[in-house]
Symmetry: D3
Subunit: 248 residues, 6 copies
Amino acid sequence: MLLYLSTWPEVEAYLEKSQGIILPIGSTEQHGPTGLIGTDAICAGAIAHGVGEATGAIVAPTINVGMALHHTAFPGTISLRPSTMILLIKDYVTCLTRAGFTKFFFINGHGGNIATLKAAFAETYAHIGDLNIPHAQQVQCVVGNWFMCGSVYQLAKELYGNQEGSHATPSEVAVTQYVYPQAIKQAPLSPEVASGHRIYGAVDFRQRYPDGRMGSNPALATPEHGKQFYDLAVKELSNNYLEFLSVE
Amino acid sequence: MLLYLSTWPEVEAYLEKSQGIILPIGSTEQHGPTGLIGTDAICAGAIAHGVGEATGAIVAPTINVGMALHHTAFPGTISLRPSTMILLIKDYVTCLTRAGFTKFFFINGHGGNIATLKAAFAETYAHIGDLNIPHAQQVQCVVGNWFMCGSVYQLAKELYGNQEGSHATPSEVAVTQYVYPQAIKQAPLSPEVASGHRIYGAVDFRQRYPDGRMGSNPALATPEHGKQFYDLAVKELSNNYLEFLSVE
Amino acid sequence: MLLYLSTWPEVEAYLEKSQGIILPIGSTEQHGPTGLIGTDAICAGAIAHGVGEATGAIVAPTINVGMALHHTAFPGTISLRPSTMILLIKDYVTCLTRAGFTKFFFINGHGGNIATLKAAFAETYAHIGDLNIPHAQQVQCVVGNWFMCGSVYQLAKELYGNQEGSHATPSEVAVTQYVYPQAIKQAPLSPEVASGHRIYGAVDFRQRYPDGRMGSNPALATPEHGKQFYDLAVKELSNNYLEFLSVE
Amino acid sequence: MLLYLSTWPEVEAYLEKSQGIILPIGSTEQHGPTGLIGTDAICAGAIAHGVGEATGAIVAPTINVGMALHHTAFPGTISLRPSTMILLIKDYVTCLTRAGFTKFFFINGHGGNIATLKAAFAETYAHIGDLNIPHAQQVQCVVGNWFMCGSVYQLAKELYGNQEGSHATPSEVAVTQYVYPQAIKQAPLSPEVASGHRIYGAVDFRQRYPDGRMGSNPALATPEHGKQFYDLAVKELSNNYLEFLSVE
Amino acid sequence: MLLYLSTWPEVEAYLEKSQGIILPIGSTEQHGPTGLIGTDAICAGAIAHGVGEATGAIVAPTINVGMALHHTAFPGTISLRPSTMILLIKDYVTCLTRAGFTKFFFINGHGGNIATLKAAFAETYAHIGDLNIPHAQQVQCVVGNWFMCGSVYQLAKELYGNQEGSHATPSEVAVTQYVYPQAIKQAPLSPEVASGHRIYGAVDFRQRYPDGRMGSNPALATPEHGKQFYDLAVKELSNNYLEFLSVE
Amino acid sequence: MLLYLSTWPEVEAYLEKSQGIILPIGSTEQHGPTGLIGTDAICAGAIAHGVGEATGAIVAPTINVGMALHHTAFPGTISLRPSTMILLIKDYVTCLTRAGFTKFFFINGHGGNIATLKAAFAETYAHIGDLNIPHAQQVQCVVGNWFMCGSVYQLAKELYGNQEGSHATPSEVAVTQYVYPQAIKQAPLSPEVASGHRIYGAVDFRQRYPDGRMGSNPALATPEHGKQFYDLAVKELSNNYLEFLSVE
């Protein structure tokens, strides 16, 4: 059930049987010479829709722009500052809590979002605890990173070994190829690719990772792989979501 | 050209010939018993994509959640506070300005966003003016509200007269029916519908507009109307965008 | 009844019979070669005092500085950033709400304030709704722009036609001449005057509107016109205020 | 020279010979049963105008609302939170610094403003130092509290002894009587008046100081006293201002 | 009783008999050629520990970094901006108030903290008053500046006369020598030392006070003096604290 | 070399040979019935001092209070909100960057700080990149968590197996016993201890972990263990720091 294709009475009816909601969050950032700028949002959104179908959960609209400040020296990247993203998450969760939701399951497509999401959850619990909302103490937020699912990780290792890398990876590119086969990009990729540098500011990042990839070879990706990753992630995160709902 | 389906080298190439970008912005809010919660985001996104195709402009991912605090007493609504939205817009425009964009054309689907957008533009100009960006003084932001296009307005008047109302209107519902024909909703609509009340806080709003509509009869909407509105809006906003680009 | 010339017991007594308050808001910004920098505050303040006398309403001190960032390339302009102004309005309304006021009627002298005021109202309703104030849901804020009164607009059209322009207008200058006849300024005004450009940042604004006027000929203003505008605005806004009070 | 009665070319001319500006700041707060709510703004504004005349300095519009949170349990009080006031002061000084001003002399009518003003000055220096303004390092802000002038203090002691108190004092009431003789209020004042309690929150304040006075007997005030205080304050602060200008 | 060496059940037990807490606050800033950068934190911390022992009060960890923006042109200085410090104080006091504390006695080692502390207290009272905390109205914050104790001031005058100065003073250096005899520094001190300049921005400060001292001769300090100052401050502030507790 | 026991000329001299600095950060939070509230700050501070000695690095004062909102239902806990902590870290790093530091090595004692620290680093890089600081692009921040050192982790496993738990662990308690042998606490510890629950809000946390421990048996700790942990952490983090300095 997709929130944006629902009416408010449908949401009201949903809330009588569940207080859980899935919130996909991605990023709008460079993904190397062939990866789509929307990769993280596309993956998170598609997988979240799959989880919604599998579990009957309502799915919020995808948060397309996240915390990608270190990618902003590449054109096309859009990022919130962490302090803005904290306010955004707080606003989202507060609105939905007032309506009756208490179980917030973020399906995340971008490693760079994780720290700020966790900070935002802490800020949000404290904020909501100060409001006059009866179920404030039941509010729970968790983040499920599809690319860190055990099954996904293992398949990536099998298919790509250490060419999976850590950004603009073949696994995430594969998922976008599965979702948008019409948008498969070709570009020459140098065989050597930078890897292993820590992440600091945006200018520094582009100097260390000149084409945007971090140790990855996205040329290995195929739409068929993408479907496999998609299926594994949907299955594992669906289980995670249902378990999250079942624990008080 | 859709930003999220592009690579960063494609954006880099685009910037050599244009510094314009289209940013659709909607809202996630109740739209009466039959209107989709994503109505404003769906309309803004679809029309923005149409304008992008018609003009060759790059289109940013849709900002799905805007300023809808007055709708938050209806479940399913998500809103940023105006102060959060100002920061979000500032972050978006600042990132894109650093990359070389200077002409920001927001295609807006929600009346409630307009005031905050304008405030955000002013805040953003002042902010960017303080940074060391050579083209800072060329940054220009405008908002094009598809539902206020002259041609759209006239067709709505012809088709619906005063049953167009001002929220959950048949015209916007029609566009969503055209875009998502699989999500056309049916629900009983009382013939009387509240209208003419000013908008204050969320609880007050729901008391005055108990089913969420503001003077509208969305039962009049059809997907065919939706196509007409879509075509008119794309045409008129495409012209507006090209004119915006052409003026220094 | 002027708040600043009242004592707190007088305010306490006033609150027993009315919960309405008038808040004049202007701006401190350039108004062309002959217009006073305080024009918007002077007009808003004087008209608000008139409305207060006509209706028995209490009138708050004038907010002298508003949102005028686009005028800040002209010396003498002082502006709040929109985010600061939102906090200021929120603080004002919150204090007065605690005291028992619920009907906030802003009399505004500056078009550039409108968007930020509306954003501030939304932010304020949400904020106050979270506090433990019994009458929080009754809080209502509206803005009455004296220069957009129908009667004012019509007189300006009759007297000045299209030389009214949109900034440093003869109508507002006339009101200041009526209020401060000792401060009528003379300066050569070029017959050609820029008009029709959109408003972006401050540096851009001064380039497009080199003497600060926007399509106006303030040389047409007279103190007698000023009195006419004043009387019309006071009458129309007094009616608006009383109607605002009468509607629940 | 009053900023609000000046034009921008007049300010431009002024800046060629002086970079100093006087900014009156008051408060809108209860001043006991007979003191005007605008007392602090009235005193600061009137004295600032006097100093402007005596020294040829330009005078900004009075900041009518300051930091008076501890008075907000009395109706009619309006206060900024300190964090808001810091932003407001920063915005004012930043705008004026861009225009060329460097010497900011605040004439203050409210003890409760002093701490926040000083905090705001520190915040502002750091902020302006980060901007690309050539004369950023010359920016200097000082606060001149008229009620703490040596000559004023001495006269108050002579006239009122320990009945001067520390809030709603006869000296400040006298100045308002001199400025607004038509607004002299009468009300019974209990001979005993609370004094000596520390200031904490607003509810606590009203419990300790039930009629709003702090150890004062404002019934001693006369308009003639007011003129004396006014003259002394104008003279002393004019000297202070000129000295401030003369020191690099 | 030191908070950081206590367990939560010990704090719970403490709260049954007292709601008072001592919070030392210093600064991390240059103190001239021979003064320690931690001088203010060292003095405040040591004296607060002494007061805690003398009165049985619990002592919070020292806030090591305060408001020292004007010293930031000297390497080693770390400062919060006032707006950050307000948030920090608000967070501290809010947490402790929830736990049951109501009497907050800050022992301060840095003059530059005072204004921001007072602003923070006002902001905090207003914030806490909006929360659902039963004892919110009892929250009281005061600041005790050890260097402004009457007994301390008098001894400094006796020992150093006008060579006490106002920053990097022999009295505060003496206390650090008493606390950290192993860290007594020697460096040539010019006999002339700047004094009497107002404090503005950081660059300006270093220009006026090139070696960081303000009118002081810290070479006069001895550890024995330090013990005397320490004893006087502990005694006087202990009395102040107990009196603070005793007044409702 | 400890910053707080240094003078500014000593820091100036240090900066000529190194731009690295170590910043210990802990927390002030409950650590079960026997763990000290200052545990995380004590461990981080002591180990940081050790690393400073081993490497010749300068060590900043310990940040005693971090992000511990989830522990605030236990008395004695003090926490910054994540948004406050981001500002604090930004202020610290900005000040020190202006002075010439570029390599910021945070030694962290609290798992709950990690997410907010990472968010703060991203926010800080973006902020500093906008300032006019020549070496802005060289600024690098990393966090070294002593309790996650491989050698520490292994020893904890050997000594305590799964009784190490994840909060109020015997390993961290042991370090505090080594540093403060005079503050070893005894209290009955139930043999069963909650573990495995996710962390949400503060009230929820205390319900799930009633005595504050998370799966740990701190009764196993000894000062001798503490010395071992201390030595291992100092050694490993010293190597990490030196490696951090050596990489451009």
